[in-house]
């Protein structure tokens, strides 16, 4: 490895020795591509003409009272979520490395959909691992993936959600790395994934920063994003990290209550541990057995978190709060009713916290929210939940 893959004391390369050459190859391909103008041009072209970048920044007309809430509209990206940004980049890297097959894990299905798109676009055989419970609650996305030619494999081990899908993808990769790229979906996992995915998602914050400076003539008071593994949050945070006056707030799934054991609030309730290749905060018991988590949103239902978030929390640069299922659902409805925007359940957690801040703070703040994905995939669940 050329880099140590650490963010403070978090991160690293905790994988079976068999996989180390595959990660070394990926790190080299990534670092070389970063210096390669042809690669950057090709990616920028795809982001503009295929994915639909730049995405707009929308000021809420009716929500927020005296606060001005801006939504960074990753929900309008092709595929319906921010995932497309880095999937296109990794698919280009896969081609660069001569791989002919993609595998990926998915929780809500958004990353799986983005990977299936890239598989179709570049003619790569694609297999998506998805927890059996998530297959159940995200039927629409399962069909979208299959329609684009991907094979969706339901994972029945463990808690049957995102964590178990990652396990299965890693197992596949240890046998298949020679011709297969593991297109990991977030800023978690072993080095170089947390660094690489951050760099490919950085475009969210880069655009948003320019847009808000253009509209408001100043930086926002706070940037707010939901955190499961943490890729949309890192993506929107990164270009603001050097702006000391800008508060960075990650919103975790507090599920049915952060003091119980049905939530996904890793940064607030986790202990140091090692899972899926990285040393990071982890929801686990005393022996190190990893907990099953809960959230209304499959994308936040994950017991670990990207190591850079653990580091940003430790050095005090970002803070992390929880939003319960109920509050997220209320924000989901509020945004639909007042702004005509149907957000994903994941992103609704960030909206909920922005609404909370708008109410609490009397200083007419400017709040920038990462609206990381659209809510189509959640329609069946929303119908069921709102009928109660």
């Amino acid at each position: 490895m050329r880099l140590d893959g650490r963010f403070g004391r978090f991160g690293g390369v905790y994988v079976p020795e068999i996989l180390v050459p595959a990660l070394e190859q990926l790190e080299a391909a990534f670092l070389d591509a970063q210096e390669d103008e042809a690669f950057r041009n090709e990616l920028e072209g795809l982001l503009a003409t295929y994915a639909g970048r730049p995405t707009p920044l929308t000021l809420c007309r009716n929500l927020g009272g005296s606060a001005r809430i801006y939504l960074k509209r990753e929900d309008l990206l092709h595929g319906g979520a921010h995932k497309t940004n880095q999937v296109l980049a990794q698919a280009l890297l896969a081609q660069r490395m001569g791989k002919t097959r993609l595998i990926a894990e998915t929780g809500a299905g958004q990353h799986g959909v983005a990977t299936a798109m890239a598989g179709a676009l570049f003619g790569l055989e694609t297999r998506i691992y998805m927890g059996a419970d998530d297959v159940e609650r995200q039927q629409l996305n399962v069909f979208r993936m299959e329609l684009m030619g991907a094979e969706v494999v339901p994972v029945t081990s463990g808690g049957r959600t995102l964590k178990d899908a990652v396990n299965e993808a890693l197992r596949d990769w240890t046998a298949s790395y020679a011709d297969t790229h593991y297109l990991l979906g977030t800023v978690a996992g072993p080095h170089p994934f947390p660094l690489m995915v951050r760099e490919f998602q950085r475009v969210i914050g880069k655009e948003a920063r320019e847009q808000i400076l253009e509209i408001e003539g100043r930086l926002p008071d706070a940037v707010i994003a939901c955190v499961g593994g943490g890729s949309n949050a890192i993506g929107i945070f990164s270009d603001f990290i050097g702006d000391d006056g800008v508060e960075l707030i990650g919103v975790e799934a507090a599920g049915k209550g952060i003091d119980g054991n049905e939530h996904g609030a890793t940064l607030q309730r986790g202990r140091m541990g090692i899972l899926h290749g990285a040393e990071t905060l982890l929801l686990q018991d005393e022996d190190g057995q990893v907990d099953d988590t809960w959230s209304i949103s499959a994308g936040l239902d994950y017991p670990a978190v990207g190591p850079e978030h653990a580091h940003l929390q430790e050095i005090g640069r970002a803070s992390y709060v929880g939003v319960e299922d109920r509050e997220a659902l209320d924000a989901f409805v509020a945004l639909a009713r007042s702004e005509g925007i149907i957000a994903a359940f994941e992103s609704s957690h960030a909206v909920a916290h922005a609404l909370r801040l708008a109410e609490e703070r009397g200083d007419n703040p400017i709040l920038l929210v990462s609206l990381s994905g659209r809510g189509d995939k959640d329609m069946a669940s929303a119908q069921r939940l709102l009928a109660r």
Binding site: M1, S157, D164, S176, I274, Q284, D287
Partner: protein
């Protein structure tokens, strides 16, 4: 002399390869597990490899995963595993015991503390499946301090700088994997790894023991012929436990595979005498 060194020496004198048997500690429950462990020794195993169950075993195939699930469902905790090892050690003072687990199980207690508890229980080695050479330094240091051998994994595709790290950090034996992928006897192993064994010998790594997919006498013979010092059989044994086989059935399975380690040329025994 460590128990591994004494065991490899003993095998060489007899002109045999070493036979290692793997089971998951606490599978299907603590009491039954203890009886199965004794059955491995009764069948003639030369070294015993024991898993400490982890909720997310990414290096394991379906069979060993299911064993971990059974143990955890039965309420088996790390402390119970250590107690099983300690009791086994009092019954079998000489056989080398290797512990196989994952980084988070070690991290939960702290590396130094975990290794010390292993030493107190009478274990000889530790292999952490998701700690490659790049991250192994603190594990090697702690293991050395308590007289535990840190065992590391090498594969046919492992590049030379990584093999060199393995040679410098590990001791006891080198766990060579017969093929890419995860544990399991469902796919045929590749058994002829002479280039890997030669490279390890040249770099001064501990003796190569081949695992992943070994479940038949023919596998054992072929691996040893290619130069392995021994073999480890895991999933095939765990499958017997899954099926509820008797301890006697495990013993006879072990003894059938152990038999296949015998009958190597007299030269080996002769060479061992000369040393």
């Amino acid at each position: 002399m460590t128990r591994y060194a004494a065991m490899f020496d003993r095998c060489a004198r007899r002109g045999e390869g070493a036979f290692g048997a793997f089971l998951m500690l606490g599978d299907p429950d603590a009491g039954t597990s203890a009886a199965y462990l004794d059955a491995l020794v009764a069948g003639g195993a030369d070294m015993i490899e024991l898993g400490v169950p982890f909720s997310d075993p990414v290096a394991d195939g379906a069979v060993v995963q299911a064993a971990a699930v059974r143990a955890l469902k039965a309420g088996v905790r790390t402390a119970d595993c250590l107690a099983l090892v300690a009791a086994f050690r009092t019954r079998h003072p000489d056989i080398p015991i290797g512990i196989l687990t994952y980084a988070n199980i070690v991290a939960a207690r702290g590396i130094a503390c975990f290794v010390q508890e292993l030493a107190e229980a009478g274990a000889d080695s530790l292999l952490v499946a998701d700690v490659p050479g790049l991250e192994a330094e603190p594990y090697a240091r702690a293991a050395r301090a308590d007289g535990i051998d840190l065992v590391m994994i090498a594969a046919a595709a492992t590049p030379e700088p990584a093999l060199r790290r393995i040679a410098s950090l590990s001791s006891g034996y080198t766990y060579c994997v017969a093929r890419d992928g995860v544990t399991g006897a469902d796919r045929a192993p590749m058994l002829r790894h002479a280039p890997l064994f030669d490279a390890l010998a040249r770099l001064g790594a501990p003796p190569p023991v081949l695992g992943f997919g070994i479940g038949k006498p023919a596998h054992v013979r072929e691996a040893l012929e290619a130069g392995a010092a021994g073999v480890v059989c895991g999933s095939a044994l765990v499958k017997l436990v899954e099926a509820g086989a008797s301890p006697q059935a495990l013993s006879s399975f072990v003894s059938e595979l152990k038999d296949a380690t015998r009958g190597r040329t007299q030269n080996l025994a002769f060479e061992a005498e000369k040393r």
